[in-house]
Amino acid sequence: MKKQILALFLAVGVLAGLLGGCREATPQNSTASSTNAPSSQAPQKAEIAVGIAQDLDDSLDPYQMTAAGTREVMFNVFEGLVKPDSQGNFVPAVAASYTVSTDGCTYTFPLREGVTFHNGKECTFEDVLYSFQTCAAVTVNSSVAAALSNVADIREEDGGVVITLTAPDPDFLSMAASVYIVPKDYDGQATAPVGTGPFRFVSRSIQENVILERFDGYYGAKPALERVTYRIFSDGNALFTALNSGALDLVAHLTVDQVESLTNGYQILEGTMNLVQAMYLNHAKEPFDNELVRQALCYAVDVDAMLALTADGHGAKVGSSMYPAFGKYFDPALADRYPHDVEKAKTLLAQAGYPNGFSFTLTVPSNYAPHVDTATVIVEQLKEVGVEAKLELVEWETWLSEVYAGRNFEATLVGFDASTLTASAMLARWVTGDGKNMIGYSNPDYDDAYAAARDPAHTEEEQTAYYRQCLEILSDTAANVYLQDLADFVAINPALTGYAFYPLYVMDMSTLSFQ
């Protein structure tokens, strides 16, 4: 009997302990439900939490940051003389306006009055000069470095900046947008960045969050949001759980599967990722040096079926190295240049000397599920024409060093995006011998067309036509098996409005507001 009493006593003790633990957790409860039903409650403070999948784990110095995820956030902090808008145009930022001389060699940027840095200092010509010089000296972006080496002189004139180029550069404006203007005599950019943007950097807590606050001294329209906390989730499932539980107001770059399993009633916006996903083929390796083989692969692959299987049909076919948001250059006709045709693929393979097909290794970075899903479907589709692709998954870092830098691969499936808003950001890499030409593509016609597109003697229309010709050549010679620009889903708290998709990999917080 006494034993039972003892047992009962102990059991009650344990239970009480457990319940105590739970009761302690109750206050959390109320916050959980209030964030969970945001529309039912007027927000007291204009604060939002944005979930991001990768830490801002590089230098925050505007000329040193490399990760797309870092640039995506810091877009709100830094500005150049001009900056891109959501339509892909360049609008004046630190400069009040701009004019280009008729020979295309002189750019005049009158400085805007009353532009101050986040540290309270006024922005002057000296700061602009310092920014251009520092950027030219230290930038890690090779295309910006190349563009700035073309600058002959920067001088002050009537309170404005006059930049003279050695040779005209049709992309100079977009390069100027990449030269973020920073204060002279400030050396803390790597960890405490200071710019002129609508938001100022407050703090970074490693792998926890990055906090931005509205910059009240901003010259332009003040953002509606007072504070944006980017919360970092290195695990995709944890990010999704946090989104679904209502702990986050905004998460971008979701997949169709995630969107479909979301149950918290958030609004879903669909855009595109602005990248070109393709099966990139190493032209230095047999049989991909043979154009007929590459064309056969293009016919063998059924992009529509792949989109239907992997993303319920979301995503846009590309057909060449340009994504649809770049309307000026994108040619929708190229997307259907190689309709699905198994017989034609077999005939071409036979002509190329591979009547029984061949086998190769398809190396794919494992960190990004959509690429892996696409690759899995492609492997099955290729079997129909007797081509045996062996899927090899590698870590992203291994992919960068072995496949990208080492060029030690047969075929790979990834997406390339544009680091600046220019056609050359997508197309320079396929010029013979370019440092970024990982597939070793070499085509004299392409090189000529690209050089013509870059030739300042041509008008803008002619240049555009040459860029489009470049895209056609890539498509005709089946440089790669071009697939799609992935759908980009954004889940957003229904009380928030004003989200804008950009043709670049950025997220603009200044346009968001609570209803």
């Binding site: 979930g51 490399t66 090779s142 960890t191 490693i206 759980t241 989104l243 702990a247 060093s401 970024k436």
Partner: protein, 313 residues
Amino acid sequence: MKTLFSKLAALIITLFLVSALAFFAFALIPADPATTMLGSEATPEAVAALRAQLGLDRPLPVRYFEWLTGFLRGDLGESYLYRMEVGQMLSGKLAVSALLTMLSFLLTVALSIPLGVLAGSVRNRYLDAAAVGLNQLVMSVPPFFLGILACYGLGIVLKWFTPGAYVSPEKDFWGCVRYLIFPALSIAIPRSAMAVKLLRSAIRDQLGQDYVRTARSRGASEPSILLRQVLRNALLPVITFLAVSLAEIMTMSILIEQVFSIPGVGQLLLSSVSNRDYPVVLAIVMLLAAWIVTIHFLADLLSRLADPRVRLG
């Protein structure tokens, strides 16, 4: 005393070997910080320049020697990626991981001792079999899986907490503790199941001893025998087990941090490994190794002190 010194020496040699192993193992895995940092915009020239800037173009033994001398001076170096002092980066993370470890440990103790005594004193054959079976089941559930269940069941369905809504201890200490209770439970439940198993069999063992029969014949009450005499003897092996648990809990929290998105040492370790941020990885590996080796050393010492049969040197 002699054993103590030789054990201390072994401890230091172990740490030294761990550091060398960790350093040179990284030379064997593909990818390096420069290509990782520059991404798909990299050109061969930019990669070479960055490698030179980070000092990666120098021979491995030289770099190891530099790191080792710095480490002995207390200088952990600078993170390649964050461009911050590693020591500064770690201090905040350590507080979080230490808090999680302590909570898990306290919960393990709080759960295992009462439940162990309960399990040890149950006389009903069927109840005992059921308890042993349940215990076995709980013991074999990995903490990260329990964590996923907790996030879904307690978080999304019951809304006891919001998964992902972590607050840092500097900002709101009790809010942080409240959040950490759930990951700590995920670690503590399987851990305490092991301790319960140990305690149950130790109590069973002691209950069969002569002194218990003597006590009963003197008319001592069953609870008093159990709590005053049996438990004291039965706890000895359990204490050693719990002490060693402190080391294991720290390593388990690495996975649990991932599940609950807690920005502790574990998350930093995982991301630094994939980013090839060697200075950070080495610092954390050394820290974990030192923790584990020290805990084992102390547990050994503790069991020697507690049990006069295991004499010290």
